[in-house]
Symmetry: none
Subunit: 225 residues, 4 copies
DNA sequence: CATGAATGAGCCTTCATTCAT
DNA sequence: TATGAATGAAGGCTCATTCAT
C-alpha cells in the first residue's frame, strides 16, 4: 500500500518532470529555430538564444549538450514534420495518383512554409554539424522524397503520367520547388501568397507529367487564371 | 623633358601597380572563393585566407576593406559570370525559343557548376553581408532570371509554349533547378554527371512548356533514354 | 505526560537525525576525499561529488556550507588521524627514544599512506581555502611535528642522539620524508613497498642521529640488507 | 650583391624578430611563473596573466598554444635550471665527494629557492597537464637526482660514505629536502634564512653519510653552532 | 530533509582589425 | 607596398550556488 502510494507519488513526480522537460525543450527549440534560421547558427550567440527563449544559458546546456546538438534538433524537427505530414496527405487524397501527388506536394510546401526559417538551415549549416550528424540528416532528407517518388511511379504505372519521364528527378524537383518557397522567400513574398504559389507550381509540375489525353480530367489543377 | 620622363615613369609605375593590383585582387578573390565557399565565410579566418592566397593579412585589408566586402566580391563574381554567359548562350542558340531556352538553361547550369561552392554562399551568408549589400545582390540575382523569362515569353508568343503557363514562375523554377545542382550536389554527384543532369532537367522543363503538337519537333531535347 | 512523550519522541528524532547526519557527513566526506584528492579540488564539480556520494547537490550544501568548507573538512580529517596515531605509536613503543622515534615515524608514514591522495591536497589547495582556514590548517600541520620533535629532544637528553644535531629540523625532515611517500608516489611505487620505504628511511634518519657508540644496539633498525 | 644585401636584410629582420620573440616569451613566462605558482594554475585566469605580463590575452596564445603549454613551459624552466646548475656546482667543488655533494646540494637548494613558486607547480598540476606532458616532466625531474646520486656512489666507493647506506634513497631525500624549502616555505621563512637552512640540512645529511672516522675532516660542514 | 532545475558570472580561446616597421 | 605582431571584444561552455517543490 505505502509502496503503491510511493510509486504513485513517484510517477506523478516523473510525469511533472517530463512535462516540464518537454515544455523547456519546446521553448528552447522554438527560439533556436527562430533565431538560427533567421541569422544562421553561427551568427546567433547562446546568450541570444537564451534571451529569446527566456531561460538562462546554462539551462540550454542541460537540455542540449551543445550548440551543435541544438542546431541538429532544430533541423530534425522539420524533417520529423515532413515525414509525418506528406505521407498522411497523400493517403488522405484518395486513390488517384494525380490527386495524391498534388496533395503530397501541397503538404510538403505547407510544412516548409511552417518551418520556413528552419528549413534554410539544412542548406547553410552542413559544416556546423559534425560529418556524421550531417550524413544522418541528409539521409533523412532524402527519405522525404520517397512518398512523392512512389506516387509518381504509381501514376506512370497507371498511365496517367508520361512514361518517358524520369520519375526520381521529377520527385526531387518537386521537393526542390517546395524548398524554393523558403530559399527564395525574399522574392516570392512580394509576388505570391502560399496558396497561389502551390497552385501555380502544381499546374507546372503536373503539366510536365500528365499525358495530353488526360489533362481535361483535372481542370481544377491545371487551369490557372 | 624631365616632366615628360617623370610622366612616363609614373605611367609605367601606375601600370605596374595596377597590374599587380589586379593580380593581387584575383589572387585573394580566388582564395576567398575557394575557402569561403567550402567552409562558409564564418568558418574561414582572415589568416587562413591570407595563407591560401600567399599574402599577408594586412594586404587583404588594403584591397578589400573588410571581410564582408570580400565575401561580397566573391558572390558578385558568380553573378558577373551568369550575367555574361546566359545571354550569350541564348543568342548563340539561334532564333527558336525552344533551343534558346535550352541553351540558356544549359549555360546557367554550367555556370553554377563552375562556381558550385561560391553559388552556395548566396544562400548561406545573407546575414554576414550588410542589409544593403544583401539587397543589391538579390537584385542582381533576380536579374539573372530575365534572359530566361524573356525567352519563355517569346516562346509563348510564338505558340510553341503553352499559353496557360505562368512564364515568370517557370523561369524561376528553371533557375532554381540550376541552383539545385549546387544545393543538392551531395546527392546528385552520386547519381548523375552534369550533362545527364542538364539533359534530363531540360526534358522535364520543356515537357511542361511545349504544346503537345510541337513536341515531335524536338526529339533530341525531349526523348531521354 | 504528553509532554514527556513528546520529549521522548523528540529525543528519538534527534538521535535519528544526528545519526543520519553523521552518516551523511561521512558519506560526503569520503566521496570528497576520494575525488578531490585524486583530481584536485578544482577539477571536481559539486555534481560529481554528489554523484559519488549518492546524494543530491543541494544536500552537500546543507552539511557543508560551500566547496571550500568541504575541502577544509577533508584535509582536517587527515590531520585528525595524524594527531591521533603518531602520539599513540610513540607511547606504544616503550621508553627508548630510538624505538619511540622509529615507531612515531612509522605511524606517520602509514597515516600518510592511508590518506595518500588527501595528503596532497595540503600542498595543492592553499588558495582554494580562505587565508584564515589555510593558516589554521598550517598550524595544525605544524603541531603534528611536535611528538617527533619531543622524542628527538628526549634522545638528545639521554645521550643516544648526537648533541650537535638540530632537533627541530630533524623532526621536520622526518615529516617531510613521510610526506614524500605521497608527494613522490609516482616514483616510489615502482621501486619500494611501504614497509621497505619506512625501514630504509628509518635507517637513514637514525644514522644521522644516533651517536656512533650506540649504533650497535640497534642492528634491526640500522642494518638494511 | 643585391641578393647578399637581401640576405643581410633578411637576417637582420629575422634577428629582430627572434629577439622580440624571446623577450615576449620571457615576459610572459615570468608572469606565469609568478602567478601560477602563487595561486595554482587553475586559479589564475589568462586575463590575469596577460595583465601581469603587460600584454594582451591574444598575444599569449601566439607564443604558447594554450594554458597547458604555458604551465608546461614554466615547469620546464625550473628543470632546465636545475639540470644546468647542479652538475656545474658539483664539478666546481673539486674532487672530494663530500665537498662535491655539499656543493651539489647547495646548488639544488638555491635553484629551488630562485624558482620557489614555480617549483611548487610540479606537485600541484599533474592533472592540469596532459598525461604525456606530465610523464615527460617526471622523467626530467627524476634525472635531476642523478648528479647527486653519482656523487654519493663515488663517496661510498672512496670509503668516505658509509657502505651500508642506500645511495639512491639518500639522493632522493636530499632532493626532497631541497624541495622542502619551497613546499614548507611558509614555515621556514619565519625560522631560517636560506643559507642557514642549507648549512643545517647539509650537516644532517652528511651526518647520516660520512663514516665516523672521517667526520673530523669536515668540521666546517658538520659543526653547526 | 532532500532534490535537482535554474541561474549567471567567469573562464579559455578565437579572430577581425589595426598599425608600427 | 607589404608584413605580421598586437589588441581586445565576443563567443561557447562550465559550474558553484540557490531555491521552489
Amino acid at each position: 500500500m505505502s509502496s503503491d502510494a510511493l510509486t504513485v507519488a513517484e510517477e506523478a513526480h516523473e510525469a511533472v518532470r517530463s512535462a516540464r522537460n518537454s515544455v523547456r525543450t519546446r521553448q528552447i527549440l522554438r527560439a533556436a529555430a527562430r533565431l538560427m534560421a533567421r541569422d544562421g547558427s553561427d551568427a546567433v550567440s547562446m546568450q541570444a538564444l537564451a534571451d529569446e527563449a527566456s531561460v538562462s544559458v546554462g539551462l540550454i546546456y542541460r537540455y542540449f549538450g551543445n550548440k551543435q546538438d541544438l542546431l541538429h534538433a532544430v533541423i530534425a524537427e522539420v524533417l520529423d514534420d515532413l515525414a509525418a505530414r506528406v505521407p498522411a496527405a497523400i493517403e488522405a487524397a484518395g486513390a488517384d495518383p494525380v490527386r495524391r501527388l498534388a496533395g503530397g506536394f501541397r503538404a510538403y510546401c505547407e510544412a516548409i512554409a511552417d518551418h520556413r526559417h528552419a528549413a534554410l538551415l539544412t542548406y547553410r549549416e552542413s559544416k556546423a554539424l559534425g560529418v556524421e550528424a550531417s550524413e544522418r540528416l541528409k539521409k533523412r532528407e532524402t527519405a522525404t522524397v520517397l512518398p512523392l517518388l512512389h506516387t509518381v511511379e504509381q501514376g506512370v504505372a497507371e498511365g496517367v503520367f508520361a512514361a518517358g519521364v524520369h520519375a526520381e528527378l521529377v520527385a526531387l524537383d518537386l521537393v526542390m520547388l517546395a524548398h524554393a518557397w523558403a530559399l527564395k522567400h525574399w522574392y516570392f513574398e512580394a509576388h505570391y501568397d502560399l496558396d497561389t504559389y502551390i497552385a501555380r507550381q502544381t499546374a507546372i509540375g503536373l503539366g510536365a507529367l500528365i499525358v495530353p489525353e488526360r489533362r481535361a480530367d483535372y481542370p481544377d489543377l491545371l487551369d490557372i487564371r
